[in-house]
């Protein structure tokens, strides 16, 4: 499936006559990328679907605010990350004392859309122990194999900080595995 070029989509998004059609193209082009970005953060498919829809709704309502200072993909990722963080914070506020430290990761065992083995499950539980920002960096680097430069634009953090963040995340996960072996 071929997609329209980002610059063409951006021009069409700013034209009321072509805005809707261009937005549909944008949704088709970026659904998968944004979905996986969100999924690795919120874990559940249903929650991911909700956050993804909220992301695109926010994109639609803020189209006039996008002036092309950054790349279209960068802007979309940034909104997706912020929506994911907002969702996680809301979910955290509703957690009770009885909830385990792993939180949503503990529900993955019974999740029909979780296809991993025991190691994958432990990895997800280990990730839940990381601070959100560190988790985001790890997911982007490890699962989505994003370049540090691209991550830097999305998260507005220096490449050096991102590398340090990833390094510490890996260390903590390895310690978690060693402690739970």
């Amino acid at each position: 499936m071929s997609y329209l070029d980002d610059s063409l989509i951006t021009r069409q998004l700013h034209d009321p006559a072509t805005r809707r059609r261009a937005f549909e193209e944008l949704v088709k082009k970026y659904t998968a990328q944004l979905y996986w970005q969100i999924r690795h953060m919120v874990l559940s498919h249903d929650d991911t679907n909700d956050v993804l829809q909220n992301t695109f709704i926010k994109v639609w309502t803020n189209l006039d605010n996008f002036r092309g200072d950054s790349k279209l993909a960068t802007w979309l990722y940034r909104i997706a990350v912020n929506e994911s963080l907002t969702f996680i914070q809301k979910r955290k506020d509703t957690l009770t004392i009885d909830d385990t430290e792993a939180g949503p990761a503990a529900e993955l065992e019974s999740d029909p859309y979780f296809d991993g083995d025991e190691t994958d499950l432990q990895l997800q539980k280990a990730l839940q122990t990381l601070p959100e920002k560190q988790r985001i960096v790890f997911n982007m680097k490890y699962f989505q194999e994003m370049k540090y430069e691209d991550m830097s634009e999305i998260l507005k953090t220096s490449v050096g900080s991102l590398k340090a963040s990833y390094h510490f995340a890996v260390e903590k996960i390895e310690n978690y595995f060693n402690a739970n072996d």
């Binding site: 006559a17 805005r19 949704v27 979905y35 979780f114 296809d115 190691t119 432990q122 699962f143 595995f177």
Partner: protein, 132 residues
Amino acid sequence: MKQIDLTNNPKSKKSPFKVPEDYFENFATQMMTQIPETISVEKTNMAKNVEVLEPTITIFTRIKPYIYLAATICGLAFGVKVYQIQKQYYAEKHQTPVATVNEAQAAQFVDDACDFMMIDDHDVYSCATNTF
């Protein structure tokens, strides 16, 4: 449980998550049902469905411009009149008392003349009564 290599092993990077069948294919269509129509389409629909009501023209509406014109003229005339009255008042208030100054100057002139001509009061009385 096997150890996971977080740095090198590409197999470890397989995502453990999966999605429902045809999820990505159907998502865009489902998403667009939540997006409102564009403004241009909205206006077109509104034009088709809503009758355009013309405003009712009353007598007051018709003569309103003339009322505004008359009020403007009256206001200008009133302003000019007020200006004239103020100018006249200011002129009267600061008018120079010419008669008073002339009387004083005339009296001084007579005294100076009398001194010059060496005329005394007896001479002045005689002149005034024609008994000179």
